[in-house]
């Protein structure tokens, strides 16, 4: 027993691990919290798309030797706002908007790297997450983004809830929906940017979606869903990072596998009942765009 405990405590002697653990736990909490809004808005794949879009900014910053956080951040935010704008225009759905804007950004990133080569940080870490790549700056950046996100979610809790549930009615009820959406996209872009090194481009989407889906399976209350999703995300970050060290597997991979294990566990314990809650999780219909039923007239031709 004591040997297991000693083995568990062993990596805590290394500063890089403690920093990685801190960042992974905060990143999990952050993604779990934001994932609730993302999944309920029917934008589950925005995390996947935005992480790819940020990769484009990552490459562009590298080419022009610009600060990575600033360059990729501005790029990611611009992509997020463009996705939100295009999807709210109603002619194109959120999924298509994400597909167009973010893949184009990702492709541009690859093209820039092919043409000019990589002059910046490791792209392997950016793709799959790395326990070793965590610097002091990363800890402070993730802590800052987490604190900012908590302030936004607390301060704009009601506006975020209303505009997620029914943006059209929220808009006519005095909620500044466009501003609220932009704020959410800002914190999401910052969160993806801050967690990219530890979770990786390819896996960020899962850390946004899985904790929220598991939380939805466990509760019918919005506020409880926020708590549960955040806790599951943080726990997955903590456990995943430990497993990453002991099994020598990339950190992002292990965090996502712990999230997935939580999903399977909840599914087994609750059976199919819990899936009812997560079914149609993101279904939204524009109330003012639904065609009223015509008068049933046999003569109308």
């Amino acid at each position: 027993m004591s040997s297991i405990w000693a083995s568990f405590l062993e990596p805590f002697a290394y500063q890089f691990f403690v920093k990685g653990l801190l960042v992974a736990t905060m990143a999990g909490l952050l993604c779990g919290l934001l994932g609730v809004y993302i999944t309920l808005r029917g934008m589950s794949y925005i995390g996947h798309g935005l992480s790819h879009a940020v990769f484009g900014g990552f490459a562009a910053s590298s080419v022009i030797s610009f600060n990575y956080y600033l360059g990729a951040g501005i790029w990611g935010l611009a992509s997020a706002l463009a996705i939100n704008r295009v999807s709210r225009s109603r002619r194109i759905g959120a999924d298509a908007a994400i597909g167009v804007i973010t893949t184009a950004s990702f492709a541009l990133g690859i093209a820039l790297l092919s043409l000019y080569g990589n002059k910046g940080p490791s792209f392997d870490a950016a793709l799959f997450g790395s326990i070793i790549g965590v610097a002091d700056t990363d800890v402070w950046v993730v802590a800052g983004v987490t604190a900012f996100t908590l302030i936004v979610v607390l301060g704009r809790y009601r506006a975020l809830l209303f505009s997620t549930f029914d943006p059209e009615v929220a808009d006519v009820s005095g909620v500044r929906v466009a501003r609220t959406d932009a704020l959410l996209m800002l914190v999401l872009s910052l969160a993806i940017l801050a967690t990219l090194n530890i979770i990786g481009v390819t896996l960020v989407a899962a850390t946004l979606v899985i904790p929220a889906v598991v939380a939805r399976m466990l509760t019918d209350s919005f506020s409880r869903m926020l708590w549960i999703s955040s806790i599951i995300g943080a726990a997955a970050g903590f456990i995943g990072m430990n497993l990453s060290y002991h099994l020598n597997v990339p950190s992002g991979t292990m965090i996502v596998l712990v999230d997935a294990a939580a999903f399977c566990l909840v599914l087994m314990v609750t059976g199919g009942r819990s899936l009812r809650g997560s079914a149609r999780l993101d279904e939204h219909v524009d109330p003012l765009l639904v065609t009223p039923k015509p008068i049933p007239s046999r003569n109308a031709r």
Binding site: L161, E283, V285, P294, S297, N299
Partner: protein
Amino acid sequence: MTETLRQRTDLITLHDVGFGYDRRPVLDGVTLRLRAGTFTGVVGPSGSGKTSLLRILLRTVHPQRGRVSIKPGLRVAYVPQLETVNWNFPVTVAECVLMSRSQGMRWPWASTSERVEAHETLDRLGIADLAGRHIRELSGGQQQRMFLARALLRRPELMLLDEPTSGVDVKTRHEVLHLLGELNEDGLSIVLTTHDLNGVAAHLPHLVALRTRVIAEGHPDEVIRTDILEATFGANMEVLAHAGMPIVVEGHHRHARPA
């Protein structure tokens, strides 16, 4: 304010309003006065401009032509169609009703006065005991009452409802109309859209028949007439009288007979 004075106040006036999508006119030359204390039903077929009219009244779109005058500081509440709502969204009835208090920076949790007001509104609508339930667990009538409560919590002068009886059964339709009548008697101005001529429109005090432009306006006796309905809906329709109420029936088909 006396009843007469209240009735005289114009809440929203539309003058020669035109609106369209992609150069296709949806509303053309619409002139309308919505007065305080009135209860108006807007009837018309699909694509007649009912939705666009609601959007203009809600100020979510602006007309491309004409003029809209709105009483300064007018408080408007909107009740969406039940069929458009994501009933799986994780909110309780109380959480949904309190969404009306979402403007600006507020604490996430409701204050005591907000809880009391929400409870009183739910109580007035007869669903106070359902406050802790998930919205999916309500019947159609209860769901409509919940949205009415959310709208009422805004303390509106004008309430706009999009097809409030669409997709509900006869009993619920009666309940909703009765409730709206009571709210109107208490001084709330109401505008609703409907495609249900017999079940809803015939029971309202004031109707607007819309088909891109206003075909007719007035008491149901003045609007639910064969010529006006045919001009509005573009179909053969007959109007019969039963117990002092107009009843609309479809006209006969003229089938080609074999020689």
